[in-house]
């Protein structure tokens, strides 16, 4: 579903991945982690690193980004042998859609306002 176009706009096929990358500025690795989490329900950094065959630092940073973007929540769980581990849980895609739509509106408004002001001869100059 992630990489299957859900709409074609002026002959351009748009996927959910495209939208997340374009509107929220996320990267492929982050999009992959979010969608894998949706399938798994929840997971730790270790689970995801193994599952997606990426190193732990990459997964850790991708998760931090997703938490910041509001797409993933994390909670602390105490381990039976002591210490704790963070468990990451994605927000449902229906809720993610709201975040995307809000960002899309902000992006549209910003580009629209800038475009109305723009003057071809002065593009790139401040």
């Amino acid at each position: 579903m992630l990489d299957t176009p859900f709409v074609t706009v002026r002959r351009f096929n748009v996927t959910v991945r495209d939208v997340l990358k374009c509107v929220l500025g996320l990267r492929d690795a982050e999009v992959d982690v979010y969608f894998r989490l949706l399938e798994l329900g929840e997971a730790t950094v270790y689970d995801l690193a193994e599952d997606l065959n990426r190193d732990r630092t990459t997964i850790q940073k991708a998760l931090k980004s997703l938490v910041h973007a509001g797409l993933v929540n994390r909670r602390k769980e105490t381990r039976p042998r002591g210490g704790y581990v963070y468990v990451y849980e994605p927000i449902p895609f229906e809720e993610a859609k709201e975040i995307i739509l809000r960002a899309l509106d902000e992006w549209y408004e910003a580009v629209k306002a800038a475009l109305e002001e723009v003057d071809v001869e002065n593009i790139g100059k401040e």
Partner: protein
């Protein structure tokens, strides 16, 4: 990054503090091979290779990674952490900045945020890296204590690197869940000093 003449400027990510001479040799090679033989030393303590022809950009990025260097972040991400050399070489410093700056680099660089976030570490309150002007600033006070600022707002003093990492994590979480996309932390924090202090638990 595209320059007005249509060529590309490739920015690197360098670990804060000291750059190994070998990395500089690699940069020199790449600048001669793919660029115009010059580099720019940026205000954020990294290096940019200008004059890269669009057709050669992918090859440069590939060779860069093969030889152990990484391109720098652009867009809504935490940028390279800057620091002074600290007590390793500066007689005025009260703290060793490089280990903390590298730790922050590992924890935060390239993480998604609503707008770019710049972090600077200084080894004493003279603040040569301008911690008060950065989105997040950390000032060494000596004896393992650090003062943390966000947008110039004082968030209190912390004991040891772990506490510094934790408070910066809290600041970024507060910022990410409250600020509209595109609003810099510096401005957002300065305009909401009390709410931020409350969010990170400053008395």
């Amino acid at each position: 990054m595209r320059a007005p003449d249509g060529t590309y400027v490739v920015r690197l990510t360098l670990p804060p503090g000291f750059v190994p001479a070998e990395a500089l040799r690699v940069v020199a090679d790449l600048a001669e091979k793919y660029g115009d033989g010059r580099v720019h030393l940026t205000v954020r303590q990294t290096i940019e290779i200008p004059g890269v022809h669009p057709d050669r950009l992918e090859d440069l990025l590939e060779e860069l990674r093969e030889r152990g260097l990484e391109p720098g972040s652009t867009g809504p991400r935490v940028r390279q952490v800057t620091c002074c050399p600290g007590a390793d070489t500066c007689p005025n410093a009260l703290a060793r900045t490089v280990p903390l700056a590298r730790r922050l680099h590992e924890e935060f660089v390239d993480v998604w945020v609503p707008a770019k976030v710049k972090i600077a570490v200084s080894g004493c309150p003279r603040g040569c890296t301008r911690p008060e002007d950065n989105d997040v600033g950390v000032i060494g006070l000596g004896e393992g204590r650090w003062r943390v600022l966000a947008g110039g707002v004082d968030l209190g003093d912390y004991e040891g690197e772990d506490e510094v990492v934790e408070v910066i994590e809290d600041v970024l979480a507060w910022y990410s869940s409250n600020a509209p996309l595109g609003t810099r932390l510096k401005r957002f924090a300065a305009e909401r000093a009390e709410r931020l202090q409350e969010a990170v638990g400053v008395d």
